[in-house]
Symmetry: C2
Subunit: 225 residues, 2 copies
């Protein structure tokens, strides 16, 4: 883990029994992970692995099971493994589902890569959505997004925090920016979503601490509803 | 509503279409409510009404439906309507369930009333658990508690906030102090709860704002887990 990792991640990971090696950056963390793999440990890549993506794709099976009428879905993109797996499952089973991939400004490696049709490396992740902060997506995930995802949208941290506060106060659910950005995206498109659409917003994580919440909410002085 | 009511309560109440009359205190709010009743509106008392308590008692039916093995339950007490209704249902259907009533220090009108066997009026509510802050319980709720509740426990605001942060960060659920105090009480008794017990903690509300959360978490610098 990069040593800048939030307290609550570190505590939760230790709570599940893991031993943590800290690194100065995400790049160094990957170097350490590769060294440990070479020593015989298993490396579970966060996104650039077809088996990881296939596993994440089962989320789509559960959604279709609960909501067979699904017609539109918002899925956020870090390195792109989750959306690659889900889009493969969705388009195989229900090709007419409209899939929207969501990133935040400053963590939009997929959007830029798709626009320029090549892997773009972000020099710096400036968004608060740290878990979307893969500096670069992969050939594997980019090709799935190009083939299977209908639309990409990039939302601001401000709109994301506003969605996060709404989810917390009105649905009592803590969702991290990497998940709340999907609600922000759906709100942005609300006027163009047909009333006959059956829309799902994937809220794919809740690893935010009370300190994160307080400081973001102040920083963006989110108007609350 | 007292004019000191939190922003999020006011916004949510207005969001559901209500017109709000503000009062300087909870006493004045009750006076206004009584005046409006005399003008022909219906008064739904928050706790001192057998029908309200009976309605709240259906929570116990739902719990027993989902968890027939229930043997121990923690329920918080404001004015005592919720626990009166739930205890009536539980003891009628499963007399051996151990019922623990929970209040916070500074909002413990029921504990004091039961101790002294008469209705005690709190001069001031000093706990952050505002929705437990009935300055006084009623003959109706006190008599139910005396007959049906096995044990009363009073926990600190500090332990309550610690439980609240735990619930938020580890279960991703926003619970207000009036609910989180039940987890604090169960934790306090954890060593004496048998491993064969089937314990339920009622988390009976989530009306806390992000500002509340930030300020309580700082105030009590809760150790987080």
């Amino acid at each position: 883990m990069p040593s800048s990792t939030s307290r609550n991640y570190i505590e939760a990971t230790r709570g599940y029994g893991a031993e943590i090696c800290f690194a100065n950056s995400i790049q160094q963390a990957f170097e350490t992970a590769h060294r440990l793999r070479d020593q015989g440990l298993a490396l579970v890549h966060p996104f650039d692995d077809p088996l990881v993506a296939a596993g994440q794709g089962t989320v789509a099976l559960e959604i279709l099971h609960d909501l067979p009428s699904l017609s539109r879905i918002y899925i956020s993109i870090g390195g792109g493994g989750l959306i690659a797996g889900m889009a493969a499952a969705l388009k195989a089973l229900k090709p007419d589902v409209h899939i929207v991939g969501v990133e935040t400004v400053g963590a939009d490696a997929m959007y830029r890569s798709r626009q320029s049709d090549q892997l773009i490396e972000l020099k710096e992740i400036t968004s608060i959505a740290r878990t979307l902060g893969a500096p670069r997506v992969s050939e594997f995930t980019l090709s799935h997004v190009k083939k299977l995802v209908d639309e990409l949208i990039v939302v601001s941290d401000h709109d994301t925090v506003e969605a996060m506060v709404y989810l917390l106060e009105r649905t009592k659910t803590l969702v991290e920016p990497a998940g709340a950005c999907c609600l922000a995206a759906a709100r942005k498109q609300a006027s163009s979503i047909g009333t006959n659409e059956s829309t799902t917003i994937l809220l794919c994580g809740g690893n935010s601490s009370v300190e994160d919440l307080s400081s973001w909410s102040k920083q963006f002085s989110a108007s609350k509803c």
